[in-house]
Amino acid sequence: MSILSFDETEESGYDIRPRRDAEAGTGPLYIVCSPRRTVGKTLLARLLAEFYFAHDRPIAAFDLADEGPQLSDYLPDVTTAVELGSMRGQMAFFDRLIGEKHSAKVVDVSHRMFRDFFVIANKIGILEEAIRRGIEPIMLFMIDPDEKSAGAYSILQRWFPEISLLPVRNQSVANGIPYWGAFPNESPIHVALEIPLLTASVKTLVSQSSFSFARFQRTQSIGLPVRLDDELRGFIRRVFRQFCEIETRRMCGDVRGHWSSNP
């Protein structure tokens, strides 16, 4: 598929296509995480990976989950299951994370592996090493009302002060949580990330392992009722636009934030 089939540009007046200059450089390293289960980590990881599919850009996904449905169920062709429990598994995973520079990477850190993953990352300095190699790590933290999440978010901020840590609000689990309370975004990438609500029937559709957001977006119609079709296309557009905003900020720095703080 060509990125030209993505018709958002004309409709919104805002170019949400990934910038071509990004394709020549190094891909970012997205770490989707939360210490809590069923907050939408795998959905966000899927959406990120499919965002890259949709724009014909290389993507590698890593799945740290040990229970289904998991990322490798949805994207088996690009997803590698990670075994953090052994040294060989760690070497296969972490050495590859910083070894491949040109593809974007998405790591889906399950709630059960949350602690182990970040303890090891902190110990061996993998995220700092990624930065030294020109790979930008971006931690996407699924927020929720549980105190454990706020505590974990605060720990990540302390452990990785140089790494972008972005709160992501999944409206189906964290609708009432203010961003700048327990989950301040102090990274240079000031993007308010939200996964919009989906109605039950659309949620059921996208939960099928054969469903692809990128493929759906490319297809004129898969026979859904108009209301559901519109809802799903709007959902994808809204999420992908946020990813584009991250990409833009990532490449240009937070120009708007800089201007507003330095008038």
């Binding site: 040294m87 760690q90 300095g125 090493e129």
Partner: protein
């Protein structure tokens, strides 16, 4: 005049990590730009020499000519510190020889600084070694090293028993060497390079290498902790040498890792 410093690393028991601790000490001193020479008493093959060939000489510490080679050159050597890695089974006899040649007396009179790193094994025999060794060490700096690098559990020790031994020597200082992943440790063994070379992604002769970042990360983290222990006990103050570099251990090791990325 600066007093010569002699650091003896030993244990009567084998396989407790004497050479590993010697290697961490040599790396620690080298990072602080303190001129150091080492003697490897695993004669004739040598063990420490594999890792630090440029500054290490293999000697038979029980022979008089080799004792002369070590101790008669303390003042004339350009090295501020002389480290002796004593092979298993001869620590007591080496200390005895040092006493007989008047070395320990020289230490007592303040003519030189003598420090002993006594590497403890997990067996109760190590506690007896402490009692035996301490007889020689009235003026020496005595470091008792609990080496957990191979996940030693010290299971045979009753803490009360250990404390009763330990408290007999009010000047003894305890140092803990933390555990290191077995695979990371073995990889450095295979490369036969200083730990700092491995962290900097270099081979034995300093040439660029392609070690796993994960293993290098584990070694760096471990060595930071070992050096923190040396800093905690104020090792340099104790042995009376002055650091040529004033950086902390962590930035120094991090710089090695950073250098490897370029």
């Amino acid at each position: 005049m600066v007093k010569p410093v002699v650091v003896l690393v030993g244990a009567d028991k084998g396989g407790v990590g004497k050479t590993t601790v010697s290697r961490t000490l040599l790396d620690y001193l080298a990072a602080r730009k303190i001129p150091t020479r080492a003697f490897d008493t695993e004669w004739p093959r040598g063990t420490l020499k594999r890792f630090h060939p440029d500054i290490t000489e293999v000697v038979d510490v029980t022979s008089v000519p080799d004792q002369m080679k070590i101790f008669d050159t303390l003042e004339s050597s350009s090295a501020a510190v002389t480290l002796i890695d004593v092979r298993a089974g001869i620590m007591s006899s080496t200390l005895n020889a040092l006493r007989n040649i008047g070395f320990l007396d020289a230490g007592r009179k303040g003519q030189l600084t003598f420090a002993l790193f006594h590497i403890l094994g997990s067996s109760i025999a190590s506690l007896d070694e402490i009692a035996e060794t301490s007889h020689y060490l009235t003026e020496a700096k005595y470091f008792l090293v609990k080496n957990f690098i191979n996940n030693t559990s010290f299971f045979e020790w009753d803490q009360a028993t250990y404390n009763s031994y330990f408290k007999q020597f009010k000047d003894a200082v305890e140092i803990t060497i933390p555990q290191l992943s077995e695979m990371a440790y073995e990889q450095v063994e295979l490369v036969a390079a200083p730990f700092t070379n491995f962290i900097a992604n270099k081979g034995a002769n300093g040439s660029p290498a392609n070690h796993s970042f994960v293993l290098r990360g584990y070694v760096r983290h471990w060595l930071e902790n070992v050096w923190s222990e040396f800093d905690r006990v104020k090792l340099l103050d104790v042995v009376g040498v002055r650091e040529a570099s004033t950086e902390g251990a962590k930035p120094r090791l991090m710089k090695l890792a950073e250098a490897a990325a370029h």
